[in-house]
Amino acid sequence: MTGFLLRRALGAAVTLLAISVIIYVVFYAAPGNVAQISCGPRCSPAQVQQVADQLRLDDPLYLRYWHFLQGIFVGQDFSTGTALQHCDAPCLGFSYQTDQQVTQLILTKLPATASLALGAMVLWLILGVGTGVLSAWRRGRPTERILTGITLAGTATPVFVIGLVLMIVVCGQLQWLPFPQYVPFSDDPEQWAWNLLLPWLSLALIEAAKYARLTRASMLETLAEDHVRTFRAYGVGERSIIGRHALRGAVAPVIALNANDFGSMFGGAVLSETLFGIPGLGRELVHAVNVVDLPVVVGMVLVTGFFVVLANAVADVLYAVADRRVVLS
């Protein structure tokens, strides 16, 4: 097990390194005037020169990447023409628009995205696995058909469409809830939850559909196995077979899917943050793309990649724990 963990950690580290190389090359070695592009369209020639100095554009690419990597691990000093500006250890550079450190920016935006993501995840696991169990239990009956139809429709609905429709129906037409306005958890946990309810739902409804299909399929597979027939022959009740034995078969695939979804959830977060005005990483990324703030864009992509790789590594370990049949190699 220790060997497996080490290998997995090493693999994750290599992938992260590869991500950083590719992202760096793609964004900073793109054809054209990199300084002009990364400074954005509104930069004056003096600012462009300053950016060129900051990026050390006279250095060869590998050296520039090395400095970038150094910044992440030990920090980096930037000369801003007159003064020397220090950027602490996980340094991802400075925003060209606000002069803020990218790491700081990401840290201030992270709580909102985490609130959105974690809440949605809890909701979609409950909804998805619940629906899956119900439709496996009621297999062949009208309940299952209706649920299958709903989940299929769910997988085909884009996040922003369902979010928009939910907002307009629930907040506009029915007026059950006010239009969401993000409140930080530390300010008022109750308001935080109420205002995130719709964003959570819009992400969860779509994701839940996938989990429902997966749970149902895995459970049906287990239900068709010989040992289940044996349980039945021994007179074990249907409820116990579904709840104890069939559900267990669905745990491992659900974990694996959940890790993979971590990435697509960031994508969903971009849309749902923009739609509901949640000040998180996603909305910041959209803003950075619109004003072409390259250090912010690169920082965001790297941080996203970091979380996804981490989630996948954790999932692999959980997977091995949940399903003893997985060979640890």
Binding site: V161, G172, A259, L271, V297, N312
Partner: protein, 327 residues
Amino acid sequence: MASETAGAGALTASAPVSGARQFWRRLRTRRAALVAAAVVALLVLVALGAPLLAALEGQDPNTYHPHLIDSARGGVPVGPLGGISAEHWLGVEPQTGRDLFTRLVYGARVSLGVALAATLVQVLLGVTVGIAAGLGNRWVDQILSRATDVIVALPLMILALALMAIVPAGFPRPVLVALVVGLVAWGGTAKIVRAQTITLKELDFVAAARLSGWPTWKIARRELLPSLAAPVITYASLLVPTNVTVEAALSFLGVGVKPPTPSWGQMLTAADVWYQAAPQYLLLPAGALFVTVFALTVLGDGVRTALDPRAASRLSIGTGRKREARA
């Protein structure tokens, strides 16, 4: 990423190359897939015939009609139901008065065109990288597989969005969107093709070709590609609906297809302001997107079942359900 758990192998469960006729016969037995295919065909026709349909209505997607806008009420269309009339079949856009029907049908062009072009890029890249990794020596395989891992690890939406920051301005926007979406999502195809290639290259017919001194590209083209067709088509048919969604999402965020080119995603951006006065301004693009993605998903599922009957019992829609139910 997660090579221990990856589902890449699941889709490749090697279907015998079944010939086009057998494929159609199998597809025909699935009612849901047939209906979906009809809907998709209709959408394609609408997209191709957009200028014709516009001419039929006698409107143009980009002409402003200020006289149809009630500026006293904040820019909502004049008349009931968002200005539906004999001239404007689906009403007009708030504020600008542009014809919604023509914008919708031209939007189908963008939506389907970008999605298909992106899928083509994804498949070409994925197949090339996959075959090269599968046939190449250890180093080629390592490098290409790592690159694939990276592209799979990074979320598609995030990467596509980020790339939109550095794409050259002044290039046709739909082409750019298709390229970017294609460039960020070839990883899945590459993984499947690599796995399949590695299995295939040990088989006798490929070994025979190699022993007779065929160059690698010839082996790839003549011996591998025909056997790769089924899994690649299966996977590609599931990529199309995702690409439709991503294009709409990028345009919704304002970084995809830019105005004045009509796009469904774009139409949704401003819709929440107008839902009371012109509900179809929201419902039309939302409905169009939903129907398109839904039909493409069901069709993709049907294609998968028709090409790989063994996978049918896993996550199926339609008639497969009954067989499972008895299990």
